[in-house]
Amino acid sequence: MSFNNYTSTCVPLPMENVDTDQIIPARFLKATSREGFGDNLFRDWRYLKGETKNEDFVLNNPIYQGEILVAGKNFGCGSSREHAAWALDDYGFKVVISSFFADIFKGNALNNGLLPIQVSDEFLAEIFEQIEANPKTEIKIDLESQIVKIVEKQKVMNFEINTFKKTCLLNGYDDIDYIISQKEAIEAFEKNRAFSYA
């Protein structure tokens, strides 16, 4: 999918240090495919004992809908499980906005077409305030120009993204396609390296 001129309402999760064990607890990592993880996204926050929904958790609040998750700083810390990105994507999120992302999560998200957008603490606070005032607040994302906008307020901020990753997202390709195209360089490197462990 293309992110250009993409607009959606948001789901707010104003918590810091949300770790990947919360995004998808370990006991749901037994699957050997990439599908179906969305059902257990934030499982232990979404459900009380058993199958009873926790009505206080934002995913169970029908007021908040949308394909953009807005979360507190240091989102995605902890385990490297890519299942966290798969779960967010499978649930239907296309974008996560936070003021800080853990490294591995950020990479995993980008490798799965889920766009992590890092904004300033102030801009993040403004988004949360705006959503609180109006749950139908829309955020517009323009990946080509690297701009995120709180539509109602006409407030914008630029975000950073690695040029290569941006091209991949815009065109739907993957790191692996590129790396495979460099096989000759890799083999030459193996032959010529100063010290080899092979």
């Binding site: 770790d19 919360q22 232990d44 890519e82 490294d103 990479g107 490197f189 193996e190 390296r193 010290f195």
Partner: protein, 467 residues
């Protein structure tokens, strides 16, 4: 040499692995070794199949079953159907693609970050990856080792390379002598409590200073292991005689002339005097006491004589109250004397033979408190075998500690080893996240000695009072 040519340990290894560098583009980084396990590899193998690709360099990949294996009756088929299928899938994949595997039942099976060094697969100067964030453990040998997601597991299997932006460098120096009852686990819990759970994000850390140099290899692994808990991509310690002594003669290390050649190369790796880091911290070992966490991330830690603070370094009051509510604790409360229900001694942080020896020495002639369950889960079959050879199993049995079979176990609560809802577990693992050890479980992270002390008294205890 002018100062631009002075290089850090990290820079030297990174630069020696750059296959290709272009402006405004991540480096194409060569990966010497990859570890795989049952949980984060199946989708990567599927990817290879879809693209009709082999594993590019099978001899540089090694697999084990650890996250999802039972720790009792390992000779029987795995009861949980999904877990069994996952382990069988790993076996099938490794077989089909020609990857060496230490699966359940193998005499050298164990937690991936325990068996790598044990088998001599981990060596200084290497780049090492694994679909697991605690891959940072291997940095203790002076290697660049970091955790990756499953898409990258597939890339590394297909090409032995990854596209990586070069991280910034951080040096953390710890000088002086450690106090009585203070272990390397306390050093790393202390560092994380000081710089916060995100303080290392974007950095690769090198640990240095006299306190670090004096540590054994296994103690160094404990430190590097938890680098990820401050957000750092990895941690490393320069190789030295301690490193070479530990490695010598292990299965996969070079032998004879090749060993000498390798040692010469490894000796060229330590950071040049005067080389610059992007960030530096200096700590004094004398300031560190036995540590314990009180909250729901590893940065929420205090010395055992301290009280719970108003908020953690880099955290907010909101986050703190959510964490303490989950833990059933309060601000300004002391932890000493708090009753506990479980003790877990295990995980890739603290399940090596030295950890088990320390615990055995401490509990010899003592007994666990009546209402506490104590599990000791060795990091590998080799650790288990060695412990039995030394008679540690008998010490544990006499103390009422249950010695189980190797695996990740209650570190992540993926198999049946879970801490029940609301129960308190004093644990030598690395994460105290909500539900990490089972839904609703409450974790206190500590060193193996602190865990052993709590097992004996049935409450949180300052181990120094018992030494």
């Amino acid at each position: 040499m002018n100062s631009n040519q002075l290089k850090t340990l990290f820079d030297k290894i990174w630069e020696a692995h750059v296959v290709q560098r272009k402006e405004d583009f991540p480096d194409l980084l060569y990966i010497d070794k990859q570890f795989i396990h049952e949980v984060t590899s199946p989708q990567a193998f599927d990817g290879l199949r879809k693209r009709d690709l082999p594993v590019f360099r099978t001899s540089q990949t090694i697999g084990t079953a650890d996250h999802n294996v039972p720790t009792l009756n390992q000779h029987l088929p795995i009861k949980d159907m999904l877990s069994r299928f996952q382990v069988e899938t790993l076996e099938k994949n490794c077989n089909e693609f020609g990857v060496e595997l230490y699966s359940l039942g193998h005499q050298k099976q164990g937690i991936v970050h325990v068996i790598g060094p044990e088998l001599g697969f981990t060596q200084p100067g290497m780049t090492i990856v694994c679909g697991d964030s605690h891959t940072s453990t291997h940095g203790a040998f002076g290697a660049i080792a970091f955790g990756i997601g499953t898409s990258q597991v597939e890339q590394a299997m297909a090409t032995q390379c990854l596209l990586q932006n070069k991280p910034k460098t951080m040096r953390i120096e710890v000088n002086g002598e450690l106090g009585k009852g203070v272990l390397s686990k306390d050093i790393i819990l202390y560092i994380i409590s000081q710089i916060s759970t995100s303080g290392g994000t974007g950095y690769f850390v090198e640990y240095a200073g006299s306190a670090i140099r004096s540590l054994s290899m296994e103690a160094r692994m404990t430190i590097c292991n938890m680098s990820i808990e401050m957000g750092a991509r990895g941690g490393m310690i320069a190789p030295d005689e301690t490193t070479f002594e530990y490695m010598k003669g292990r299965l996969h290390v070079p032998k004879g002339e090749k060993w000498k050649e390798a040692v010469d190369y490894w000796k060229s790796l330590p950071t040049d005097e005067g080389a610059k880091y992007d960030k530096e911290y200096v700590f004094d070992a004398a300031d560190i006491e036995p540590m314990i966490t009180y909250g729901t991330n590893p940065g929420m830690g205090i010395g055992i004589s301290e009280n719970i603070p108003e908020k953690a370094v880099g955290g907010s009051v909101n986050e703190m109250s959510k964490a303490l509510n989950y833990m059933g604790l309060q601000q300004r409360q002391a932890l000493k004397g708090k009753k506990i229900d479980y003790v877990f001694i295990g995980s890739c942080t603290n399940s090596r033979i030295e950890d088990l020896r320390l615990v055995a020495e401490f509990v010899k002639g003592k007994r666990k408190a009546n209402d506490v369950n104590v599990w000791i889960v060795p990091g590998s079959k080799q650790v288990e075998t060695q412990a039995k050879k030394e008679g540690l199993d008998e010490v544990f049995q006499a103390a009422g500690f249950e010695l189980r079979q190797p695996g990740c176990s209650a570190c992540l609560g993926m198999n049946e080893d879970k801490i029940p809802t609301g129960k308190y577990c004093v644990s030598t693992s690395n994460r105290n996240f909500e539900g990490r050890q089972g839904p609703g479980s409450r974790t206190f992270l500590v060193s193996p000695l602190m865990a052993a002390a709590a097992a004996v008294t049935g409450e949180i205890t300052d181990v120094r009072e018992m030494l």
